[in-house]
Symmetry: C2
């Protein structure tokens, strides 16, 4: 059941990142209330494989006091297909590219927000060119082992929270861990 807006919903605010939409909702007693949802462009995250390693980023952002760990990824531009975003962000942030892409999962973390995160796996990545960072990004690229990747995903500063909870099972369920390894490395 994917979150969506009813047809008669109206845009009441458009900001830098977020839109706010409202509609008139009939309640169970027949009365009308204004219902409201927030919407933002979708996001992609990439589990990028280089030989037997996975790419992690240590990132600083200008409004955050502490650095955090994350996967390559970012926001879909207007009308941009998630896979196109994934390829673009991986190349811009890390300099790597891949010809072997697979969607691991899509996730809507928040009931009252129209927003999907797409998690892709990029296998057999090769280094293409020097990363091109936004003026709001300071990113250090690290190549880590599968074990280090699972451990990092359980750190409090790991940014991709939905993925951290998904991966937590790999810390104490050996069958899940083996299956996940195969899913990622092929």
């Amino acid at each position: 059941m994917k979150n969506s807006l009813p047809q008669d919903a109206k845009l009441v605010f458009k900001g830098e990142l977020f839109e706010v939409w409202q509609w008139k909702q009939k309640m169970y007693d027949g009365s009308i209330e204004i219902f409201e949802r927030v919407k933002q462009v979708d996001n992609v995250d990439v589990i990028a494989v280089v030989n037997d390693k996975i790419i992690l980023e240590v990132q600083e952002q200008p409004d955050r006091a502490e650095p955090f760990i994350s996967l390559p990824g970012g926001r879909c531009e207007e009308k941009e297909e998630p896979l196109v975003t994934a390829k673009r962000e991986l190349l811009e942030e890390t300099g790597y590219s891949s010809d072997h892409w697979e969607l691991l999962m899509e996730h809507q973390p928040f009931n009252k927000m129209i927003w999907t995160i797409y998690n892709f796996i990029a296998r057999d990545c090769s280094y293409e060119k020097i990363p091109r960072l936004d003026r709001g990004e300071k990113i250090t690229v690290k190549l880590v082992s599968f074990d280090e990747f699972i451990a990092a995903s359980q750190e409090p500063t790991f940014r991709n929270k939905y993925l951290g909870t998904y991966l937590s099972r790999a810390s104490f369920d050996e069958a899940f861990r083996k299956k996940l390894y195969k899913t990622i490395f092929g």
Copy 2:
């Protein structure tokens, strides 16, 4: 590291549920960009214990096609302490009350939203009075066993997603399951 707004953030939109805040953020190259966050009042969820059972709700809402399963809970009113909200919502939605409250966890699910969910445990609940539902609520109260509670939390229609991922571990880690049982039932 709790999400918060910088001191110079300004309210640019106030809707029915959401506020949008913006501030001028200095970037790494010295330029300025408008940063934006969404804010909403905090939420509480309650794991309410009645003898050896836990309270679950099967709920319909006027804008949702299908019923969903959830814990008792709701939104904090302006300036309302989370524990006060928890007691109020439990009584309104289920008719039960408790004198033995404990905070299990607090959770900020979303980096770009100023929003905290407080999860409380209410032990030794007793039936007080007939529930008083909002005109946007149709709620059926069920008392389920610990095993049924864990199973329900893994259903796709279980509403409290952050809790579902937290509880998933109980499905395949016996030590965690036993500890959780003790935490809930005391």
